[in-house]
């Protein structure tokens, strides 16, 4: 170690600052501008961390392959007049891919930091634990969105090439619905990460959630609707209770095509696009809000 020749700096505005003579809380956040907001500082740190991890590149690559392949093979096969079939394919495959990417991105957000030891230092900052969780969520959501949008870019370029400008609006709306769904699933992942005591528990819970939203929920809902002869309201409720179904509805609302399976009963649900979009926003807010509350109980 090579400290300064004249010893450690103890100047008030330099390195090792002195304590204020008054009892005024040093380091308080009052008066800080938006750019200096602690939540944004934590989000920016988390963003940087996630961008430098392999996850972000992996998600971008995965979605690039996905979007590129679907548009390349779909659009050339069906032609510009049936571009809706391509969007339906994106919706059907996206129900597996989008939640998987989001859950993988978020399951270790809190419990991983705890196991690494960095959570103590974060919680010792003059920022509430709830804001720390909000910052962590925002940072990861930023990276996830960026990676997904980057991944959807090859598909967008191919859409322009094969379909022209007419298809871009539909494609963009589907991509944005996928991002919103990813935010919702990321919120669920952060909640799981907040309550989990070990990273492996969070991973297991995330896989169980993926299994439920991508596969089991539709089977159970379809069985209940058909077996109990439930009406449109039940179908609507079943859709709104699963962010992945919300994505499917938003994507399929862009086109005339109605996919098979649960998609065939969606028409009876009578859900409007704004309603589904609001439901997805609620799917973002509620898990993150619950995580922000529960993190206070987390034992360090």
């Amino acid at each position: 170690m090579t400290p300064a020749e004249d010893g450690p700096d103890t100047s008030a505005d330099g390195g090792v600052a002195t304590a204020p003579a008054s009892g005024v809380a040093a380091g308080s956040v009052s008066g800080a501008g938006l750019a200096d907001s602690p939540v944004l500082a934590i989000a920016s740190r988390e963003y940087r961390l996630a961008v430098r991890s392999r996850w972000a590149a992996g998600v971008a690559l995965l979605f690039a392959l996905f979007s590129g392949a679907v548009v390349q093979f779909g659009a050339t096969a069906v032609g510009p007049g049936r571009f809706g079939a391509v969007v339906a394919t994106i919706a059907e495959l996206g129900v597996y891919l989008v939640p998987l990417a989001a859950l993988a991105m978020g399951y270790d957000a809190v419990v991983g930091a705890h196991e690494r030891g960095s959570l103590e230092l974060l919680f010792a900052l003059p920022v509430s634990k709830a804001r720390v969780v909000a910052g962590v969520y925002l940072g990861r959501a930023g990276v996830l969105s960026g990676a997904m949008l980057l991944g959807f870019l090859p598909g967008a370029l191919l859409t322009l090439w094969y379909v022209g400008v007419a298809g871009i609006g539909t494609y963009a709306a589907t991509a944005l619905a996928a991002v919103l769904t990813a935010w919702a699933m990321l919120g669920v992942a952060v909640l799981l990460s907040t309550v989990a005591t070990e990273k492996t528990h969070a991973l297991g819970a995330a896989l169980a959630v993926w299994l439920w939203v991508a596969l089991l929920h539709d089977l159970v809902a379809l069985g209940a609707v058909a077996g109990l002869d439930l009406g449109g309201r039940a179908v609507a409720a079943a859709v709104l209770l699963n962010p992945v179904d919300c994505f499917r509805v938003l994507a399929l609302a862009q086109v005339d095509v109605v996919a098979g399976g649960f998609g065939s009963v969606l028409a009876a649900a009578g859900l409007s696009t704004p309603t589904v979009a609001v439901a997805l926003v609620a799917w973002v807010a509620v898990p993150v809000g619950v995580a922000a509350r529960l993190v206070r109980r987390r034992r360090l």
Partner: protein
Amino acid sequence: MSVIDIDDVSKAYGEVQALDGLSLSVDRGTTLGVFGTNGAGKTTLFKLLAGLNRPDSGEVTVAGGDPTETAVRGRIRYLPEDAGFPPNLTGREILRFHARVRSTPAERREHHVERVLDTVGLTAAADRRVGGYSNGMNRRLGLGTALVGRPEILVLDEPTAGLDPEGIRAFHEVIESLSNETDVTIVFASHALSEIERLCTDAAVVVDGDVAVAGPVESLRCAAGDAVTVRLTLSTPTAAEDAASHLRRQDATGSVTRAGTVVEADCLPAAAYDLVCGLGPDYDVERFAVREPGLEAAFHEAVDAAPPASLDDSGQSDGETA
């Protein structure tokens, strides 16, 4: 004027009682060294001071408030034993982040970070990712994060653990500088009693979740007794045993122990010279030294005086903490 008040605080993790009615008061500007056996409850105590946890009972007041409140935490800097910095960030980015969250004005932030890096000796490695740092460099960075902004109270959990001698020296310089030139209150845990004797105005011995002894370092030294320890090194173990037998027969000596060729005998300071001379040339004393009473004696007295920790069914002692 006390800046830290801990009143009859208890904290348990499940069936393990980490702190048991601990009380402690620390005045502003004090440098307090906390030491004790492993699992005595030091880390639990530090987490309460940093506002990371709440006590099960009792009250913790730091800088006039509850440390779990955000505004109070702004006046405290806590360095855990393992800071676990994200390996993908550079040292500069980590300090910049802490400066930003600690509300260091944007126009002064870079300069401030540069000065902190210089203080902890990480300027050359500032732009390297922390994943490539050695353990000692991580500790220095941890100390750097504690120095960001305007610290009023430093709570450092074993800050020199894993540091090389140069790192320890630099840490000592920083603490001495803060202690001499500011009224920052410093509380740090260490197993190196010599470090506490050198840097601290006060010391506290934590045993089984409670403060066994606390007070000014000088008082603790005096309370440990007047006896000095004469340490003799002889040429052979046989010669050492002969010397030990001789010393045990002397009225002036207290406890006499032998390990290999080394003999240690406790005696009053005035008797030390005669004791060594009395061995004469027959015992072939190669070296000798006289050690004055220190915190080690106070520590051992405190530990010895504490009732033995009972073991639960799992074989874990009462004092062991998570």
